[in-house]
């Protein structure tokens, strides 16, 4: 396994609060996430997996340690730089409240590329093609004009995946993407994530506490009490 690294972390710690309420969410995490693979970060509630993801995705600053994503070091970036970095290199799928309620499905999918100005430059050509391909693959063609409130939970997550994939980011983070879904929809969403890794060569990192969900991944990283306790490959 000598592929390129999509992201790596060294000596990552993160603490919240102070004094009596001080909580160490991460206690020195070293992690390499290879490109083109589907990695699941697992662990029970409070193990620090969400905090790890936030630090890796540039959503939060670690207390100490360094993070590199797509060859760029995140420490020292100010808020605007981090925002631009996320816009250009990272895709997100969250557990819930993934979509903006006042925008249609199609508008939600285009949102990040519009924020980065990519859509305006490119919309007529590759991006439009890519959009059509993704929408087709995810089976959203008939739903593009709908508002989030008019979509089922599974459909909402598919829109979120389409949004994350559209700009071909260096890495896609999925935070409990199946947490609110029934088992049929869960299977569908997880298959789609795996499909994007297999067919589009995407790097996907998923945070989950469901062992069932982790079975779709290539690699599993287990976190407990703010530290990596296990790292294994899933047998295909």
């Amino acid at each position: 396994m000598t592929s390129l690294l999509a992201a790596s972390a060294r000596g990552l710690t993160k603490s919240f609060g102070r004094g009596d309420t001080l909580v160490h969410a991460l206690r020195g995490v070293d992690l390499d996430l290879p490109a083109g693979r589907f990695t699941a970060i697992m662990g029970p509630s409070g193990s620090g997996k969400s905090t790890l993801m936030h630090c890796l995705a540039g959503l939060d600053q670690p207390t100490t340690g360094s993070v590199q994503v797509a060859g760029q070091a995140l420490e020292g970036m100010d808020d605007d730089a981090l925002t631009r970095f996320r816009r250009d290199h990272v895709g997100f799928v969250f557990q819930a409240f993934n979509l903006l309620p006042m925008l249609s499905a199609e508008q939600n999918i285009w949102l990040p590329t519009e924020l980065s100005g990519l859509a305006a430059r490119d919309r007529g050509r590759q991006l439009q093609q890519r959009f059509a391909g993704i929408v087709e693959t995810l089976g959203l063609t008939a739903r593009l004009g709908h508002r989030p409130a008019e979509l089922s939970g599974g459909q909402q997550q598919r829109v979120a995946i389409a949004r994350a994939l559209l700009s071909a980011p260096a890495i896609v983070f999925a935070d409990e993407p199946t947490g609110n879904l029934d088992s049929a929809s869960s299977a569908e969403v997880l298959s789609l994530l795996r499909q994007s890794v297999r067919e589009l060569g995407q790097t996907v990192v998923m945070v989950t506490h469901e062992t069932e969900a982790a079975r779709y991944a290539d690699d599993v990283v287990v976190l407990a009490d703010g530290q990596v306790t296990e790292r294994r490959e899933v047998a295909a």
């Binding site: 936030h54 605007d80 925002t83 250009d88 006042m102």
Partner: protein
Amino acid sequence: MRTVLLASLRTHTRRYGAALLAVVIGSAFIVVTAALSSSMREGLTAGLGQPYDGADAVVDSPSAADAARLLDAARTDGADAWLIGWTMQQVASGTAGETSVIDTDIGQLPDRPDRRWQELVEGRFPGGPGEAVVDSNTAKVERIGVGDRLRIGTGSDALDVAVVGLVDSPSTYAYASVYLLWPELVRWQDQLFVTSLAWAGPDAGTAIRAVVPDADVVAVDAFVQDLHQQVNNGVDIVQVVVLLFGAIALVVGILVINNTFTILFAQRMRDFALLRCVGATRRQVLRSVRLESLALGVLAAVLGVLAGLGAGHGLVALVRSQWPEARLGTAHVAPAWLAGAAGVAVVVTVVAAWLPTRRAVRVSPLAALRPDDSTRVRTRSGRIRLALGGLAVGVGVLALAAAVATANVGALAVGGTAVFVGVLLFGPVLVPALIRAAGPLTQRLLGPAGRLAAGNAVRNPRRTAATTASLLVGVTLTTAVLAGMASSRAALAADMDEQHPIDLAVTGTGPLPAETLDRLEAIDGVAAAVPVPGAVARIGDLDPLPLLPATVDGDAKVLYGDLPVPGPDQVLVPWDLVGDGLEVGDLVPVTVGDTTRELRVAGGEGWGEAALVRRTTLDRLAPGAPTQAVWLRAAEDADPEDLAGSVEAVAAPVDAGVENGLARRAYVDTQLDVLTGGVVGLLAIAVVIALVGIGNTLGLSVLERGREHALLRALGLTRRQVRRMLAAEAVLLSVVATVLGTVLGVAFAWTAVRALVQPAVHGAGLVLPWGQLALVVTISALAGLLAAVLPSRRAARITPAAGLSLD
């Protein structure tokens, strides 16, 4: 339930802040009004009876001639009499270099020292002719001191006096700026307005009726009591008018509070549902939220009354120390007022919260626990609302049409209110449609942040409509007042042109020296000067009077309108000389030198102390007449007082009178400005409350959309873009409300002008003050930005990671 009530009060009080502010402003306004009117009342009624001390009877409103006869009679009878009254005269003070001229009131100083109600503060009382005392406040404002010389009046009546003392007046009612002894004041007898005459002497009633049989003789006590009554009624009217604006502000406050409760309860729907699920009855929940609104109302009442007391007393103290000429007394707010203001605050809050609380508990427990799908518009109640709105607009338009047809003020008010209510009911459809129409513009200006803003602004049509409604009220009224005033001003301008065709008319008592014209032309602020030929004539039994032609070469340069043109055998005599032996229609001999013509008398005014005849008539009476008068046109930006002072300085040495049309014009302009400014200033309170409301709605929406903003930040919206998005939303809301309000306001003004001004002034039309209207829109856009400052800072501060874990 008490634990729940207390806990939710603790948790949510901060979110009620803006609603609280709206009620506090409204109730404080009421207390300030009470403080100001009480101080005004105190100032006006203090010492009201003092000028009548020592009198045995008072003659109510005698004519000036009767008053003069009574004063003379008193002196011969061995009784004593003095009058309370004024004549408005021009008073010039200062040196020849820098003369200042004011139009002010001249009153009488009683002859006998013990009858003098004026209180001497500096110098002494006049001992004889050529001396005067000046009110100490007037002296301060006009920088007049003891020893200065004043020239009172113009032309042949002008009087030069020395200031020998400064006095205070115990009574605002009897107060004048300058006091003269009767022998000096008598020269303006025919321009004197007498409110009352005090008589001291035995058997007063009989003595007075012996001189003036139909005199209205009143006992002193009864008269003073009557005065008190009049003054109080006047203050009461002012108070009612001002409170009307307080009521408008409170209506806007109701809209703001109602909206706040609606939003807060929508956000707490899950809490309520949970309470219901764990066993609270609907009634218990209802009681809890109503008590919450009551607590808020009581807090607002206390804060409002305290703020009002502080602001009211502070304002009165400030005015008393900075502008003593305003003559305010001490403020004393009656407990009834405080109770009233507090009661209004509580009632307004509870009423505003009533509907939202009912809506809050109507939802079934399980429905509320399901995920939110907030944007439904086409409900049954929505359709009823639209139908009512249509009905209101229909009825209103009919009433307005009736108002235009019959010039009926009542129909105008009813129609205007109905149309406005109709528009408010249409709000949830109308306002979002307007915002959508403006959306592409914000998108072009701000890119994706602008589009998100437009989307956010219309996502909850009810809320959007309620937020803009409060601003709509204030802006509609403001623009209606501005457009109405501009139209009235234009209508009055034609009237002013006729009444005061000349800015300044300098009329000599003899031929004017040649250099007078040059010196007048050279004055800074004189735009044009036209010499007018003429001659001094004897008209009937009048004192010699200059005779001027009605038309002069080049008079178009100075005249606003045409002067009235006398017939070939007519002479126009100033109105104040008509009467007393010379009546309109009389045929009188008019003599210049040794030429005499019989001319018929007509009245007129606006050209100064002179009679007007046809050019040909003058040529026949005085061929080749020299320059008798100079008519001046002031420059647009000239200061009326400075200019009049400079002109007076040139005119006085050659014994010429100055007719000051410019000052009258400026006076009317100032009156309209003050009226417009006052009304707009009072409406500003409603507008401020409305803007607090916009900031409030936005702030609560920001709390509601915490997760959404976090998502946007994660997806690549920078902090600045978040701030811009919220600012754009606020500006969209305020500008759409303002534009809609301006359109409505202008429409109302148009209707009012058609209904009220056109019947009175022929050819009056709607005049739009474009600059002022543009200013209203600009200010409200800026205020919208300001309202967004706090919410957008709070929204941008949150980090994406923290926001995503919000619930």
